[in-house]
Amino acid sequence: MITDAQRFQPFSEEPIRLIDQSGAWLGAFPCDLDDATLHAMYRHLVLARAVDERLVLLQRLGKISFTASAAGHEAAQVGTAHALRVGRDWIFPYYRDTALAIAVGWPLVELFGQMMGTRADAARGRQMPAHPGSRDLRIFTVASPIASHLPAATGTAIAQKLAGAGDATVCTFGDGATSEGDWHAALNFAGAQGAPIVFVCENNRYAISVDLRHQTGSDGLAVKAHAYGMPGYLVDGMDLLACYYVMRSLLEAARDGLGPALVEMTVYRYGPHSSADDDSVYRDPAEVAAWRERDPIVRFRRFLTARGGWDEAAERELRAAVTRTVDEAVEAAEAAGPVPVEWLFDDVSSRPTPQLERQRERFRAARRAAGEDVAD
């Protein structure tokens, strides 16, 4: 239930914020979450950061081919995740949403399996790292082409509206994504149909090296909602509770038939765009350092501490548990072993075409002729 005080104003000049840097609560309403929930949120932040760091490490060790760090985006993603009804609402994420996937419960073994392309990957090793997906959790499997998932998200939301079960969809993307034609097509169709969907922009102000000023002439991204007849909200994306409450109220509004919304969460990515990037070419280290000062995890911990019920001991225990969890997951994912070569021929369509069958036969024959192990 959303109280009146928990409804927010669209198109505000200043980002919506509920906790300040020191951890103090700024809200016009009391935080109505219990300790268990708040601690679960914090655990997700810490776990996501730990996973992130491990992925960077695994990439350096050559165990995974690529990683796109979510560090700096965690509050936005975890706040969003907790506002969802997991398993009912649909999630259309993008490649940087590992914290979101973790916070809705994506099993870590699947996560690392996906990253390593082993048999632990529910998607059978089909995609490069950082492409989450889960049928059970209604996470629409990530595709690399920027913004290409948005029209599908709108379609799912329209289907939800037709089904009338009061479910909603969340669709996330970066600031760069807002320039794509598909982004426009999706928001416009959702607006025209009043579909129950919240579009969430994780605005870290860079699309690889291209800064926001080269990306668009608009003053921020929330204002783009004007073009679709939906409200646009500017939110401090380093403030987990601001993200959570805004998303909770908008999802409830969507479920109530009030239609779509656009949320801009201002975040920062601490790492390079990906393991293939060198951000020193286009970002001032001082800028990165300044944003590091505003680490979303630190801020939320301060809030917990200030509120009471969180102390050094709890912190130590959490960190140790998280490390164990990550260690175990990595190990299990790796132990699952590589996917067989011939899996490459499966899942193209409901039944393989005669054309593909023939290709597979010739492939097998060539391997046999070369003395390669066909079973593998």
Binding site: W90, D121, A122, A123, R124, G125, R126, Q127, H131, G133, S134, R135, F140, T141, A143, P145, S148, H149, L150, P151, A152, A153, T154, G155, T156, A157, I158, A159, Q160, L162, A163, G181, D182, H184, A185, A186, N188, F189, A192, Q193, D346, D347, V348, S349, S350, R351, T353, P354, Q355, L356
Partner: protein
């Protein structure tokens, strides 16, 4: 049974499918109250209302992409692209999303959906209302592609497409929309299996392979040949991916001479695939080169609308060449 045109058959078949399965929804530009610019969705808005017959904004990416999302949520969307030429703004949604969804999710998600689009020339529409883009889809693994040439085939293939579990690109020969009429059964299932072609004529002198709109000229050519005492075996591929390799190879091997006909641009066309496969698989049975009679490597012209099409004369000329070889 009364005669029914091709486009009426589409509308009627959609009506039946929507009655049969309430998960079937339509979306596209003008598919609602207007009943489609060709009337391929006539009466459906009145019958099923705006929730199941959805007029969309003018965006092919929205149409195709939303269909993917609807399919993922359990619906059976049938999307209309107003002209096949206008699929390109939504091409990425077909290629990057619809076609690859099953694969990239390891089978977790699928996109059972149909994307209908009127294709082909001969309607004085110039190059943006006349194209035949099937080769692009054939070269996109994960898509099924079908281009039926008759009303009853359209019905059978549409039933199959709507009830299947894959994304299907469903091309309709717009110049036959009204020109092609048949007695078409109603209210009975007549699903035509995926990937199965059909022999329209039997003969031992030459095999003609075609599909879609060009079937008409191909059959006209076959008729003209018959007048000259030349018996053509005529294959209508119907499905272009998968396509009926077994049937084509069997007939070509038996006859030894083949001419392939379609109106898409020559280079890199569906015909190139069929010809290459013939050369690969039954080379020794060929008495003459497999010749392609196709559109040209030009945009589709306006003033020379008919000249661009592979008409009977061009087909006959190629047949003469393979017979004289």
């Amino acid at each position: 049974m009364a005669l029914q045109t091709y486009v009426q058959t589409i509308a009627r078949t959609l009506m039946e499918e929507m009655r049969r399965d309430e998960r079937v929804v339509l979306l596209g530009q003008d598919v609602g109250r207007r009943g489609g610019v060709f009337l391929a969705t006539e009466h459906l808005f009145d019958a099923f209302g705006p929730d199941r017959v959805i007029d969309t904004p003018l965006s092919e990416a929205a149409i195709i992409g939303a269909a993917v999302g609807m399919a993922v949520h359990g619906l059976r969307p049938v999307a209309e692209i107003q002209f096949a030429d206008y699929v390109f703004p939504g091409f990425d949604q077909l290629v990057s999303q619809a076609a690859k969804l099953r694969y990239r999710s390891g089978g977790a998600f699928t996109a059972p959906m149909v994307v209908r689009m009127p294709a082909g020339g001969g309607v004085k529409g110039g190059h943006h209302h006349s194209q035949n883009p099937e080769a692009h889809f054939v070269h996109t693994p994960g898509l099924q592609v079908v281009y039926p040439s008759t009303p009853s085939d359209a019905r059978g293939c549409l039933q199959t497409a709507v009830r299947g579990d894959d994304p299907v690109v469903f091309l309709e020969p717009k110049r036959l929309y009204r020109a092609s009429k048949e007695e078409v059964p109603r209210d009975v299932d007549q699903l035509l299996p995926v990937g199965v072609g059909v022999r329209r004529r039997e003969g031992d002198d030459v095999v003609l392979v075609s599909y879609g709109a060009s079937m008409r000229e191909t059959l006209q050519a076959a008729e003209a040949l018959a007048q000259q005492g030349i018996a053509a075996d005529v294959i209508d591929l119907r499905w272009l991916m998968p396509w009926d390799q077994a049937l084509v190879l069997e007939r070509v091997a038996a006859v030894g001479r083949v001419v392939l006909v379609s109106e898409a641009p020559h280079s890199g066309s569906m015909l190139s695939e069929v010809a290459a496969t013939i050369a690969e698989e039954v080379l020794d049975m060929l008495e003459a080169p497999p010749l392609r009679v196709s559109g040209f490597d030009t945009p589709y012209p306006y003033a020379q609308d008919r000249a661009y099409l592979p008409g009977p004369n061009r087909i006959l000329y190629a047949v003469q060449q393979v017979l004289d070889y």
